[in-house]
């Protein structure tokens, strides 16, 4: 068995359509392991995703994943929000990134377009502190509500240094 789904939608076609519509507002096109990946300025994230959703030839109507990455050395671009979109009909995946600085980590929310983005953005906020503008319920989801820092940022070590209840002696690290 094994369906050989004819890929009428190629990465170069997607790139062309994006360039046509957005010009130099989409850049850093890369093709890693077969998946096209590109970037846009953070205030264009909804416009790009809406275009990818609505366009009849592109039809990226499934949000597979939404997460963030912290690049502490990239000044002004420390936090990247990465969207993985999927065209289920033609079976094509695409990766879309927006970068934001850590001082003003505001990105428009995708939860109006994709209901699945709701919790994924809460998780991203919880771990990285990305503020999703317009999110209906942006509060911590996996960590305790009282936590006052964003643990997955590279500046924080693996273990919580603010805990006073764990006795290092008992853990062999006294």
């Amino acid at each position: 068995m094994g369906k050989n789904i004819k890929m009428a939608l190629t990465n170069s076609y997607i790139q062309e359509r994006l360039k046509e519509k957005f010009g130099d507002q989409v850049y850093n096109f890369e093709e890693t392991y077969g998946m096209l990946s590109f970037e846009a300025p953070k205030d264009h994230n909804l416009k790009v995703m809406q275009f990818l959703f609505d366009d009849e030839t592109l039809q990226f109507r499934f949000l597979t994943d939404l997460c963030a990455v912290n690049y502490p050395d990239d000044k002004g671009r420390e936090l990247a929000v990465v969207y993985h979109l999927h065209n289920l009909v033609e079976n094509v995946r695409i990766r879309f990134k927006v970068f934001t600085s850590v001082e003003t980590p505001d990105v428009f929310t995708a939860s109006q377009l994709f209901s699945s983005a709701n919790w994924m953005e809460r998780e991203t906020y919880d771990f990285y502190g990305v503020n999703f503008v317009g999110h209906p319920n942006l509060k911590r989801i996996l960590n305790v509500d009282e936590m006052d820092y964003f643990p997955l940022r590279k500046e924080y070590p693996l273990e919580d240094q603010t805990r006073i209840d764990k006795d290092d002696e008992m853990f062999g690290r006294g």
Partner: protein, 410 residues
Amino acid sequence: MLAHQQHNIKLPEGSIEKETTTLNVGPTHPATHGVFQNIMELDGERVVSTEQTVGYIHRAFEKLAERRPLYQITPITDRLNYCSSPINNMGWHLTCEKLLGVQTPKRVDYLRIIIMELARISDHLICNSIVGVDTGAYTGFLYVMQYRELIYEIYEEVCGSRLTTNIGRIGGFERNFSNTAFTKLEKFLNEYPKVLKEFENLFARNRIFMDRTQGTGGISAERALNYGFTGPNLRAAGVDYDVRVHSPYSSYEDFNFTVPVGKTGDNYDRFLVRNAEMWQSLSIIEQAYQKIQEFKGADAEVYHANVPEYYLPKKEDVYTKMEALIWHFKIIMGEVDMPKGEVYQAVEGGNGELGFYLISDGGRTPFRLHFRRPCFIYYQAYPELIQGGMLSDAIVTMSSLNLIAGELDA
């Protein structure tokens, strides 16, 4: 601060109550199979709204993974969907192999498929029998546990553990499947179809079960896709998206199987889809077992690809040969650097598309590893599924969605 005070909970039209009842279907509750909390607002028996809390079993896997070399991450992937941990392990190995550019031999792929489909059967058995338990039928659950036990024994023969298996290695398996493993597999293939048929007969046309599950917890295909549903829950709503067919991995394209699809996405359809998938998995295992028996001679002894940087050499070689000793040391101490790159690999887990997004900056540990957890994503839809329904239907919906707490929180 009570959650329901934050939003305006309005009683529905025609209600005879004066205010809604707040019910805490708390994190420790026999009906929530796992730790997650729902603070429900009820109008009598009907659910008006619910506030969900997850994160009780959050173990910071994504942060942990940034400190561990690749093979040390396998044990933490076990603990995502712990009812079918081999699938998580294989998904992770496939991600690493994609990054490293490793091509696994066919025999390894077929062995992996056997293990993954056994895991899928084990996961769906739990889900379906628990839906039975929640509607009051306890016997089915205990009856099929005997066969889950046999599946665990098969895992034990291969990797030594039963539940959190840490099975396989990058490039293949840690040892060839022993004759005992194949004997147990044959026993399973001989005895299980009859048991599955009995289990199916217990529920599929049972008047009480059908009345409890039909028409409750339904979702349309459009809403399901918008909510990011994948796996049996999406297929019950009518969309035939299965990662094994769309982006075949580990030689799934060599196998003949159908993808069962439901219509209304309600609890009954989900039960039937999972049931049908178990039959399909059984067929795939039989085909894979036949294909494995066709390998002769040296081919029949192959159980891993040649990946010296990540696959521990044989102990006899470590004690006698220089390079093997050096590789052993480098691998154990995590001194091997990964190639740079970003890779996304998806596998069809028991609950849907389990994705691994791995960013490597050329060091010994991942720069970023993100798990795309299907349970977490579709659990968001739960308030919409139970809105306006009865409380007892909400409980059955929760178990028919197959929510595994480990995968919710990671």
